[in-house]
């Protein structure tokens, strides 16, 4: 844990290749996304298959505020989290009464509608052409244009996300969520208002995904309807399931593994093989390692 933190903080010193640093930055952004998805999938048992929608709403909100209204990044970032959080609240209020497969379907449908809006609402989003020229964040007299600087920004975002998740799941709220996941009628019988807690989890989860979206938009400096791609959601799901749902270290390990590994194998295999492998990996994990890497390792070490 401490070793990992030291390695992360000193990363620009030992990662000389800018491309490798880029991979690390993407891993940081995906860490935020995986942690946010895990809050729902791992702690409430509700799978959001439209999580890319919250990511995309954050990216578009931040980019549009910065481009059209010339907001500073430091205002656009919380605004992006707020916009995604609001969307999460709406979806949670509407769909968490139903749960399970129905929640999955509503989140997919929501992502589908939002993606179509981003393609068709030319005036706002510039359609499939996307929004180029999103400005990099400015910090006092500096502009965070270099990969080194951006790495620290993403690292701070990931650390903040981790702290928020940690604070939430170790609080009364977190215990209520786990109680609801394990046995909802029993939890309700001791006075836990199921829907209220699930909506809260959905709001925080969506807001964190929006934060990741904003960081992504100001890093790549370009936002297009591709941010809503289903493959982003799939990648997040793989990270959470493989790393270990319902743990905090699991999604971090999963995010690192599934950004670094594909990049390392990029030379050897085509992108389609990677997605094909993701499907197979998901099936294999459910069959042979259903708890994920981190809980399995922890149990193995205890023995």
């Amino acid at each position: 844990m401490a070793l990992g933190a030291v390695a992360a903080v000193t990363a620009p010193l030992w990662v000389a290749n800018p491309y490798h640093l880029h991979v690390l930055i993407m891993a940081g952004i995906f860490t935020i996304l995986a942690l946010s998805l895990n809050l729902l999938l791992g702690y409430t048992g509700q799978l959001s298959l439209g999580h890319a929608a919250f990511f995309g709403i954050g990216a578009y909100t931040s980019a549009l505020l910065a481009l059209r209204l010339e907001w500073s990044f430091w205002l656009a970032l919380p605004a992006a989290a707020l916009a995604s959080g609001l969307a999460g609240w709406a979806i949670g209020r509407l769909a968490l009464k139903l749960r399970g497969a129905y929640f999955v379907l509503v989140t997919i449908s929501f992502a589908g509608v939002i993606s179509l809006v981003s393609i068709n609402w030319m005036d706002l989003t510039n359609g499939p052409l996307g929004l180029p020229g999103v400005p990099p964040p400015a910090l006092g007299p500096w502009t965070l244009r270099t990969k080194n600087a951006y790495w620290y920004l993403v690292l701070a975002g990931a650390a903040l996300t981790y702290l928020v998740c940690h604070r939430l799941v170790t609080s009364r709220i977190g215990r209520a969520l786990v109680a609801l996941r394990e046995n909802e009628p029993l939890a309700e019988s001791v006075g836990i208002d199921g829907t209220r807690y699930l909506v809260l989890a959905a709001v925080v989860s969506a807001a964190l995904a929006g934060l990741a979206g904003s960081l992504y938009a100001h890093y790549t400096r370009f936002v297009s309807p591709e941010v809503f791609l289903f493959s982003y959601t799939v990648t997040m799901v793989i990270m959470v399931i493989a790393g270990g749902q319902g743990t905090l270290a699991g999604p971090v390990v999963g995010a690192l593994l599934f950004t670094v590994l594909p990049e390392a194998l990029r030379e050897a295999v085509a992108w389609q093989w990677q997605m094909l492998a993701y499907g197979v990996v998901l099936v294999l994990f459910v069959f042979f390692l259903p708890r994920g890497i981190v809980p399995t390792l922890a149990a193995w070490r205890r023995r």
Partner: protein, 290 residues
């Protein structure tokens, strides 16, 4: 008025194939409690099987359709035996994750096998439309809607009038009691999944020549199948048929009168609205099959 009629006819053509997709999905969910996110991939499989049979093997159209149905049934049975049978008794969410894995794997296998370029599927029908009074309909589309209707009729006969159908309905009503009465649940599950997948493949083989075949075509097909099932109520065969026709017509009207860019949003919005206001489906009083 004529325009409206034309939209209705086009909507029914689409709706017939949506109904096929929906019936397959609703059977699989109703009997097996499997939320089959890979359903659309069997639709894609059907379209590409038809393409291979028509363009490469030069088979007649009906034979290509049968080849697609056979491919869907075979792969469906394989999928059930290899992945779903070992997981029987696991939670619905676990099985859902596996089906999401199958979805991603199948889609990208299709992408690798066929490449990302959309393919137009050749068909033997004349392209000049038939004119019936004020209405125009392409012979291919007429064939599609008639075949879809025939397949829906066959599915209904199978479930209502045969011994196998009786066993399927018994499994749907109460799996444990059916097993006690000597219904081989394992075999019924395999047959159901193969049958549902075959219907999806048939829908792909029918609509593929109307539009184009491309590897990610199954995504929308899956979602449309889900919206049909949700419109019609889970496990409700007549509901799925009506839901399919309704979705087809609603899409045509939406594309014709609102905006063609939002055509595919109709299904999404239908899912959201129905789940919010009538989660048991538009036509359902209680969940049932048949």
């Amino acid at each position: 008025m004529e325009q409206l009629l034309q939209h209705l006819v086009n909507g029914l053509v689409l709706g017939g194939t949506y109904a096929l997709l929906g019936i397959g999905l609703t059977l699989i969910f109703g009997l097996m409690s499997v939320v089959n996110f890979a359903h659309g991939e069997f639709y894609t499989l059907g379209a590409y099987a038809a393409f291979a049979a028509l363009a490469w093997a030069g088979l007649p159209f009906v034979a290509a359709l049968l080849a697609a149905i056979a491919a869907g049934a075979l792969l469906g049975a394989l999928c059930e035996r290899a992945l779903l049978r070992p997981l029987r008794g696991h939670s619905i969410d676990t099985i859902m994750l596996v089906m999401i894995g199958v979805w991603i794997a199948m889609q990208n296998a299709e992408l690798l096998a066929w490449g990302g370029v959309a393919r137009s599927i050749p068909h033997p029908f004349p392209t000049a439309p038939l004119t019936l009074g004020p209405l125009n309909i392409a012979p291919l589309r007429l064939f599609v809607v008639l075949t879809a209707a025939a397949l829906i009729g066959l599915a209904w006969l199978l479930i209502q009038k045969t011994r196998l159908g009786t066993a399927m309905r018994a499994t749907f009503q109460d799996r444990d009691t059916a097993a006690l009465m000597g219904v081989p649940i394992g075999r019924i599950h395999t047959i159901t999944f193969a049958f549902g997948s075959a219907l999806a493949a048939a829908a792909g083989a029918l609509l593929g020549p109307v539009f184009l075949a491309y590897p990610s075509m199954g995504d929308l097909a899956s979602l449309k199948a889900f919206s049909v099932v949700i419109l019609g109520g889970l496990g409700n065969l007549a509901g799925a048929t009506l839901g399919g026709l309704l979705l087809g017509v609603a899409e045509e009207l939406g594309a014709g009168y609102v905006s063609s860019g939002y055509r595919d949003a109709v299904g999404f919005v239908a899912i959201i609205l129905v789940l919010l206001f009538r989660p048991a489906g538009l036509f359902a009083r209680a969940e049932r099959i048949g």
